[in-house]
């Protein structure tokens, strides 16, 4: 629908704006209401990564943030900044 609106230079319908805003706000709320969730995710990601590389666990940064999609919509995104110390040699 968005491309149609763009084609005719129309703004998105208010109901669509409400849906998008709601989805975004709930993404944050749901993460914030479960502080353990990010911690669990962090630990799981680390477990997998450690099979392939040594990472700096102190400097590890994982958070939910937002970005602009190709369709110019604001969408939630999982942001991870994981400094690599060393790549493991593959057997």
């Amino acid at each position: 629908m968005k491309w149609l609106n763009d084609l005719f230079g129309r703004k998105p319908a208010p109901a669509q704006i409400a849906r998008d805003r709601l989805k975004l706000v709930l993404t944050y709320d749901r993460v914030n209401c479960q502080p353990d969730l990010l911690e669990m995710l962090k630990n799981d990601i680390m477990k997998v990564l450690l099979n392939y590389m040594d990472i700096d666990e102190e400097e590890l940064d994982i958070q939910i943030s937002q970005t602009t999609s190709e369709l110019n919509e604001i969408v939630p995104v999982l942001f991870a900044n994981i400094p690599i110390k060393n790549m493991r040699k593959q057997p």
Binding site: A13, P14, A15, Q16, A18, R19, R21, L22, K23, V25, L26, D29, R30, C33
Partner: protein, 265 residues
Amino acid sequence: MSEVYVITSGKGGVGKTTTTANIGAGLALQDKKVALVDADIGLRNLDVVMGLENRIVFDLVDVIEGNCRLKQALIKDKRYPNLYLLPAAQTKDKNAVTTGQMKKLCEQLREEFDYIILDCPAGIEQGFKNAIAGADKAIVVTTPEVSAVRDADRIIGLLEANELKSPLLVLNRVKMSMVKSQTMMSLEDVTDILAIDVLGVVPDDEAIIIATNKGEPCVSNEKSLAGQAYRDIVRRILGETVPLMDLDHGGFGTWLRKLFGTKNK
């Protein structure tokens, strides 16, 4: 077997008290013995919506503190066969009651009534915790607005964390003309976002304001669309399968579309 329902929302002003009054009166019209409990201590409103404000002698806190017996505090609504109201205290604050005391009160009410409907205060603090403490089932009321749905999502999480699984949704004040013109979120939009089963959709209806002004629940108004929506909700609570209301009947727009033979999608 009696059932204790709590009507909650998180956000204020979405229609919790109106929903409580109409579900309660509707169940009473179906020959069930019903107790309405105003759990909004310090800000009582259910008495006014029910038109029973002049008949209060004792209140919920009086019962809990032992100043009177439960039966003395229950006000009988003479317009219905078996409907009673336990009003909230107006001069106490929410911390006057504990969750344990509320549980005990609900147990006492179970002995007398088929349905106990608790009107929960807005917010997620002690008043909310008290209201949900003794409940078996929860009904979440929201309107199709970003702020109200956001709060509903939070409440659903808190209910589930407190062992009130599978709450039911009442989407209130839906304006079908606005949903059609894409200026208001639809039921589908809301249920896509909230993981919850739907108990009913209530159209925005002036009859509700008129009913509240008069202090008589709208559920007995045969002409009101909102009244019909509440009657449907009551039948669903009683276990019947009732299709969701077609909010698109009547009105000038429908008449015009019929006249010109254009179909709705």
